[in-house]
Symmetry: C2
Subunit: 337 residues, 2 copies
Amino acid sequence: MPSSKQKTSKSAPKSGSANFQPLAVGIDIGGTGTKYGIVDRNGNILYSSEISTRGHQLVESFIDALYDQLTILIEEAGGTGRMKGIGVGAPNGNYYTGTIEYAPNLPWKGIIPLAKLIENKFHLPVVLTNDANAAALGEMMYGAAKEMKDFIMITLGTGVGSGIVANGKLIYGHDGFAGELGHTIIIPDGRLHEGTGKHGSLEAYASATGVRLTAIEFLNKSKEESLLRSIPPNKIDSKKVYDAAIEGDKLAKEIFDYTGKILGLALANFVMFSSPEAIILFGGLTKAGELILKPTRQHMEENLIQVFQNKVKILVSHLKEADAAILGASALVWEMK
Amino acid sequence: MPSSKQKTSKSAPKSGSANFQPLAVGIDIGGTGTKYGIVDRNGNILYSSEISTRGHQLVESFIDALYDQLTILIEEAGGTGRMKGIGVGAPNGNYYTGTIEYAPNLPWKGIIPLAKLIENKFHLPVVLTNDANAAALGEMMYGAAKEMKDFIMITLGTGVGSGIVANGKLIYGHDGFAGELGHTIIIPDGRLHEGTGKHGSLEAYASATGVRLTAIEFLNKSKEESLLRSIPPNKIDSKKVYDAAIEGDKLAKEIFDYTGKILGLALANFVMFSSPEAIILFGGLTKAGELILKPTRQHMEENLIQVFQNKVKILVSHLKEADAAILGASALVWEMK
């Protein structure tokens, strides 16, 4: 059964003329749940709620549930006529085709024409892209990348996602799949990435999963005492490494240093590609703060040629995680032609 | 003394109304010589010639010589009034500021306001960018990237240069220096790059210099017989490695395999950044043909995640090396607002 809990609106719809300003629907599809909301031009989330993704093995049943729940919010916000369109962020989402293609974490397999399915149901224009691209748009419109024309967004969660903005526009590439920076190879013949079968990709190291694997490796290789030794290996995660590091645990700090070293090297390569004004980091790993940011900054600078040194800001997104996904998806709507 | 040899025009200026179509001046500044020419909208180089770069220790003297020589061509082509503008490709050239900044291979040190100097002398609008970006524009307008909106140009010469086009536009980055792919780190803690002091950059391996260093390394490490052993180490260059490989020399082939392995890995990373339709290779090393292209293609594919596999063309530029630089620089003019 879809779970649906209505959230108190952050900013009540205003009366009078403001009511006639167009609004945007933002939908963020995740492996577990799908968040959606109604957003005004200034990035105020007027209404928002969530249904289960995982609970719908058939995409048609998912669309039906989404329609039932989201329609309630649309009606409260003034009806379909006030909605400029629907923006959707989804893993493996393709901007050009509106499809989700072979998303490993979603219940629906193969190529799913999601934008078309939503459009047919809601009779509103729909634009779709991958979740990290949507996040980048959200940062550009409402977050740390306001006024920037050249930046890179990196999401450091269970995996590593990215969205690249150059000349004020998202880079989609010729096929709509640009910006898979988590899969770039940073350590040739390095750690195996179970999902892709490739060795040494950024995601194999600079993700929550990567930090966990580094912890297990370090504990096996070194004889050093550590708070982490009291935790069964299968219970170690990036949060526990963080907690230990905060307690002053030397090995835990070395785990973050190592993660930052690889992330910093990767960022240097990205900078020499598109020369962004800033790199914006988002997601769980950023909660480690300077534990990871300091080595990242240091190793980025060390690997940059002179012309790029001391120029590129590494910023942490200040959008709330719960809001960012909806804001990013809704931002797609204002970009529509 | 500047050398100046007038080239027979490839395509004689047409009489009649065609004479009133605007023309573009293209200038390509290299470490040794500066090529320039007058080009029509269709990429016909009507007039071209060359002066020495190295012979002018002062940029002012260079500008004076350039003015004297180029003015002759401009007059022959119908005078300043027919010229839409001047496009300049130069190492370390910055599109936004029109300056050349700390170019290690040019006689003029520091930051040189080259576009301004040329503009003041010729009283024509001037636009400047780095040589690899200009080459990319040339390919887009007249070469292998015609009709492409997303591609990457890589020049494999003494060094490795690059120009990246996304959404139909060159990526300059926030400061005008984007596209330094030769300096991305492919082998962490790998071979030292003398010029930058960094370890393991693409340029340290996949350039003429890199092939030479790989040859010396391979000869020292292995006991294998090779035609290259009869050449004094300081005389070995990429051309000699090529000649040996063509003769069937096993070690020489392994040198190209190794170069292609690193180049292919680098290209995979670039593809996962901007998802180009094609990667266009240009410059001396491409003369090795399949010796380098085959391992490059193979290792690019091996390092790509599935969604990018068997999609991206690796093409070799078919523009003549002598023309490409002038064409690329002149292409900047047609892009002017």
